[in-house]
Symmetry: D2
Subunit: 376 residues, 4 copies
């Protein structure tokens, strides 16, 4: 499965083409839309999000509700865009002469040879992740056939850390609006968000995401780029505000002695490869070991807000206050959804590689052969 | 530039084929060997390393000391291997019936259908990284033509953290044998290593690596997989003992307010895009901004040592003590070198994509056009 | 530059996402549309083509008429589709229980596990090539900046062969409606098409296509997949009705002696690498030599028409007459346009690789450095 | 499965790294060597070939005779090379100031910025194909597990065409030394070769190659680059002297009426998808249909020999006689072997994609599920 995404933040639509989805998968637009809304209707987001209706149009690859094996085209129209006159479009896509630090603005202007930042800001926007959440929704539908499920949580907001150890089960029960993992401190967090919103301040934190049900043997150590942890890091680090990716509980393990940092085999379990702990986050040697796949993302505060007093005007080479186009307080809640989506994409790709392609039924048969072999 | 590596830990050689190195690059075997020895002759490594002579044989792609544009084949023979009889080879490649937790062993056995772990352990071994250090050496030679240099440091060993803020300049001056960044605590660290070695214990920590001199505009936000930070994370997370990758100073920024987490433009500088700080680690929006590229790796303790009392015997399905084949105390020092190498590979690939290919002279000319445009 | 296409023949639209088009390219929708109509409004095509309006919608990647470096999304809506009710859509996408020999029908049904052929026929349709003609139009706009132009011709229709040697100049002057290269036999050809159309018969032939202005040094012999001729063959052989690809005049050279099959250097020419002949079709050793790039495609007769009396009904396992959904007499004229488009795509990709990316202006500067070097 | 090859014609070795060969495949060096010798010890080749001993060294990926899933490194040493002094190496790799038309020489010199042709000639040499024949041997071993076999034949030498229709069965019985398909004309052909050899003349022709036993459903029409015919054309056109690739009997079909150009379903057969004819060469719509996969290559006469009177000296910009380093009379017999090898590689890659990866036993189980589905 491979894909390309496209679309400008204030353009006609966000679009994705996904090639290699096997035939026979029941894909409901409503489920994709639901995932998109999880990314959108959450605490910490600005008014603009309310305008994004996240309608999903599937332009190809689906017939009678089932995937056909042909490329699937998902379009998420910017509904507001279609009622605009040419002049209005030029207005909302106006020139941005001043670059904002923390964004791709200046780097993109230098890279491509632009005098202003609009051309950069449109595509460097995190709006692109909507396309990948849509693709992730398809991956989740696929992986559900193999009993794989996903959960995520926010475990730190600025200086406020969750005091509880997060687990898949706990994360599954958190509310989608703002899945902070520590009930006792959630009110403090929401107050902080409210307060920051008023002041035009922003905040970062940490997001935890996990996949349950992945069989052992996914990913490979045979070349560097097939390692499952490396693939997950590649995808998660591509989320605009993510600047750090950890697998499992390495933040803790980094200061442990080796003898204390092992996930010992369970003393007795129906599943012979079961472990007592999961410091490794379900991946050893680049290959899944049957435990939950676990990753944590470090999320930076959104860099532009009222406080962005000094950007750079490339034409005057002077510092100047930039035009601020968005006002989310934090990207933590959307990042949680995006993490799940990207993990789902990676795992689906690896399942297809291991268990074959083309027909969901065939793949399920192949998978059950593998499961039988594991049990032997 | 693309490459494949091969080679089994106790096999005939580690080999790499590198396609797309432009013609006209002066490649000295001695420099590659020097980089390989940096990975090898350092504190925390076992006796076996002393045996690895890291001779470098270049089988193709070089003539009269210059790259020819043809694929370069680098072979690092396991010199010990060549004097062995067939029987001795079988002996050092003996069956490993018991899998070790923390390694790919069991996962690889289940994946490929093996009854024992030798077939897995040979390739899942970190010995593979020698090939990438050799490729990285070529990348460093290439990037030197563009005034890019690399440095790395160990900033945490187990519970002992460096108390100093690391910088490129400081890292450049650390000794290669064990580049711990805090002079005052170095003795404590070396004592810890000595003590752990005696006890057969292992330890992890954190490694910092950086590239200086990368121009703004490298990497791209246009699709997720072209983002420079994502590419770096992909490569670094593929290092066997690395389980976490951070870009810049996100560990700090994660709890800052947005207004405090920006890298403001410098007040006055000959370089108009110069920043006052570098929290972003030289990458904003997936694109280089001209500051040092900075990444930190979280390194787990080596999972197998004398303490590995309980592995799994897949044939008996019983827990059992595994055969321990290596005894490094920590992989921190080699990881530092490997990080530099992989960053060099990523940056070289992005330079080739941006500034063209084939001839080093042409690329340098194209690069100088870009530099002129930036200065305008 | 990479791309994915999508879209079902009787679905909502044909779509393409193109990543890596450098910034600053003036892209006019009208030009893309013109190229699409060349593919469509030509002799040998059925009534349905008249319905295809080939409107072009660019959903992203363009601002103020210039490419922005962001992915370009081109949508070619099936205009008829949008006025249809759900029931009508089901009607035009009705089940096709009988597979047609010569098409992907049965093979696709077996591959994906379908009981009927509609799911296959929708995507295996040559309608997909519209997306690549649109991408090719962008490539042509790009390559025009480097003085590269394209021409094509039909040189054989069934048993009627052109008696003239085709050249780039002659091909440039042929009419787009049916660019048969032999004026004297054109009437016979059009009569044949008319006659075959009435009888529901189809016909194949040969198509010639060429690119003028490609500098020496494009493509590479360093690994098999970088060879320019191999890349061209890959693309051209992917055109649904093409079953053969020749480079240059190999059909002739195959029976010549070696001494007679060489393109000798010209006796005197301002361009030192100029040749007297071009048997090699502008490519020697997988690399362009400065002569016109020339390829010929062998095109099979469209396999389904009134004569398709016996397909296979997979449910009954009986032979049966298939439903015939299209009635073009020949695909020769569209194939000519598609060949140009695909050659343009390949050449653009190789130019970007050799001369760098991101900004059209930068690339042109890099290119002129190369030209200066060649002249030295 | 992916691979890179390397090696210079007069360098230390030809090398290949192959990643993704599933575990459990019995790989015998002797079989690889046998395939290499088929490429080498045949009519039309020069004395030098007698020197190439085609010893095969497998440096990794094999243990106890079985593939381990790790990358396989195949080295074919240039045995003569190892006994040479540094001075002798410089001698056999001496500068080639004069480029030869028909070769990559001048194009490569211009591309990479060389003043002489040695750097080009070393890698552009057809010697590289030895690496791919070795990889193809592994692919054949793999595909034998799925009852797929290969055959090839020479069907035209210069002006002498075989008068017989070639079939898989006939091709299987031809002698490896020079598998010309027409017994009656073989003497004439060998005389021609002898005569040409004496005169230092060269000759081209046509090579036919085929794979038997490929199940329907391999390859895909869903995107252009997954089409089986396109993939085969990509590989075959990358053979240095091949300038044309045809699939099936298109040379004939190109002038047939559509009603006569169909491969009708057989009237009665145990295999329901069996056809009466195989004009399509086993591929319809880019997907295998269960018939033999058939391709024909157009091979140009080797461009350099005694007759190469005029090359170009880039330093003087004058025409001049080039140094002639090889003296094969024709590449037809090696091309036949290479064609089989490359078809095997393509088909293996597609089998792995469709039926999964990692373990030969698993893949065979998955395959048998598919076969059962087909029979239903």
């Amino acid at each position: 499965m491979r894909f390309l995404t496209s679309g400008d933040s204030h353009g006609a639509s966000i679009t994705a083409i996904v090639e290699g989805v096997p035939a026979g998968l029941p894909i409901e637009k409503e489920y994709i839309k639901k995932e998109l809304l999880r990314r959108n209707k959450c605490a910490g987001r600005s008014q603009r999000m309310a305008l994004e209706k996240e309608e999903v149009v599937i332009l190809s690859g689906l017939r009678k509700g089932l995937s056909t094996g042909a490329p699937i085209t998902i379009m998420i129209p910017n509904s507001e865009f279609y009622d605009l006159s040419e002049a209005q479009i030029l207005q909302i896509q106006n020139d941005l002469p001043v670059s904002r630090p923390g964004h791709a603005d200046l780097n993109g202007m230098l890279k491509f040879g632009f005098k202003e930042a609009r051309n950069v800001a449109e595509r460097a926007s995190a709006r692109e992740t909507a396309a990948r959440v849509a693709i992730g929704a398809i991956a989740k539908i696929f992986l559900k056939e193999f009993n794989i499920s996903f959960a995520s949580a926010i475990i730190q907001v600025g200086e406020i850390k969750s005091s509880k150890k997060i687990t898949f089960e706990k994360a599954s029960k958190l509310d989608a609006y703002f899945p902070f993992s520590d009930k006792n401190r959630k009110k403090a967090v929401l107050n902080l968000l409210e307060n920051f919103k008023e002041r035009g301040e922003t905040v970062g934190g940490k997001v935890w995401a996990s996949a349950k049900g992945v069989v052992p043997g996914i990913g490979s150590y045979t070349n560097w780029d097939t390692r499952l942890d490396a693939q997950i890091a590649y995808h998660l680090m591509s989320i605009p505000s993510v600047k750090g990716v950890l697998i499992g509980d390495i933040e803790n393990a980094v200061s442990l002695k080796g003898s204390a940092a092992q996930d010992q085999f369970a003393d007795s379990s129906k599943i012979f490869y079961k472990r007592k702990t999961n410091l490794a986050g379900g991946i050893e040697g680049g290959v899944s070991n049957g435990e939950d796949i676990v990753a944590t993302c470090f999320v930076k505060p959104i860099p532009s807000s009222k406080f962005s007093k000094k950007g750079l005007n490339l034409q005057t080479k002077k510092k100047q206050a930039p035009q601020i186009t968005r006002a989310d307080t934090t990207s933590l809640a959307p990042v949680a959804v995006i993490c799940e989506s990207l993990m789902a994409i990676v795992i689906m790709q690896n399942y297809l590689e291991k268990f074959g392609s083309d027909s969901v039924d065939d793949i399920k048969n192949n998978f059950s052969i593998y499961q039988k072999r594991l049990r032997k």
